[in-house]
């Protein structure tokens, strides 16, 4: 979840909270934040074969003020870091962050002795909720990541888990 200080409501309704979180999980609107190669797999997930629209997350909004999940797909360079933080701050609460791909998790294949240009992982300056490994991760992995996020939001797993045969 986000880190801003949001005043909690004075009266809590358990059932209303459950319904609200179910609604939020059912329509997560991602922000188009493809930085590098993982962006193409994100586009492929939104396209016809893998179809993220089935899970309610088809509406990729360019503006941060209209979306609730930021999928950091790609390498974050030191020049880009202030821009990412600004965009994260512009998103309204409640908001989540998915780190997609090895570069967003820990710098990926670009970490070497004496590197001067990239930030080694999105969690160095953002609170990340879900990590999706891969270089780039398959679209099915991104869908699984969205389903895990839904589990985090609602508290229970809404879709069956894929078993290895």
């Amino acid at each position: 979840m986000g880190t801003q200080d949001v005043q909690p409501p004075i009266i809590h309704f358990a059932t209303l909270d459950k319904i609200l979180s179910l609604g939020r999980a059912n329509s997560l609107w991602p922000m188009t934040f493809g930085l590098a190669c993982c962006a193409i797999e994100m586009m492929a997930t939104g396209a016809s074969r893998f179809d993220l629209a089935r899970f309610g997350a088809e509406v990729f909004r360019p503006s941060p003020r209209q979306c609730d999940v930021m999928i950091v797909a790609g390498t974050i360079s030191k020049k880009m870091e202030p821009a990412v933080k600004t965009l994260y701050d512009q998103m309204p609460e409640p908001k989540w962050v998915i780190a997609m791909g090895n570069c967003a998790i820990s710098g990926g294949p670009f970490v070497f002795e004496g590197q001067y240009g990239i930030v080694e992982g999105a969690d160095k300056f953002l609170p990340v909720d879900i990590y999706i490994p891969g270089c780039p991760p398959r679209p099915e992995a991104l869908i699984e990541g969205i389903l895990e996020l839904e589990e985090k939001v609602t508290g229970f797993r809404r879709w069956p888990r894929v078993e290895a045969k």
Partner: protein, 192 residues
Amino acid sequence: MLLAKIKEALSSLYDGIQETPETPETSEAEEATEEAVVPSEETAPAEEAQAEEAAAEAAPPPGPRETDYAAKGYHLDVDLPSEKVPEAAEILLRENFFIESIAGVDWIDDQQLEAVYDFNHFDELCRVVIRTRTDRNNPEIPTISHIYQGANWHERETHDFFGIKFIGHPNLEPLLLPEDADFHPLLKDFKA
């Protein structure tokens, strides 16, 4: 055909360059090389070849050198001092070459920085490489961005990575590094 033409055009740049002292002293055709030292390089290759073989430590005569394309990937190798680079670029633009890239190389053992300019031609295959070396502690090369506008970005990138100052460049700010970067990453002694 284009290769011969551009070689001749570029060799006129070497008129002012001094001949290295070893070659005339050790060659047999001493008189021939002494009277017409630089311009007759292409017309007297046989005598020169003898002179070069005769003196093992004689430096090769300055001038455009043809290279083995299949082994190296380019046709003409031109070694110039930094001041002559804009003239060479003007000659190449007149002959309708286009600029492919500008690369910097850090020769830390020689304490020199080298800039390598790659040119190619749209109609006939002919790759010309211009090299120039400059001192590592105060690297300065005149710009060619008023001749080849594409060199504007190439020179900014070379300045970013190596710190070579291109004299006369309109804005030599960092291109690929952050705007406030003051380090030059591709130098051999760079520590993050």
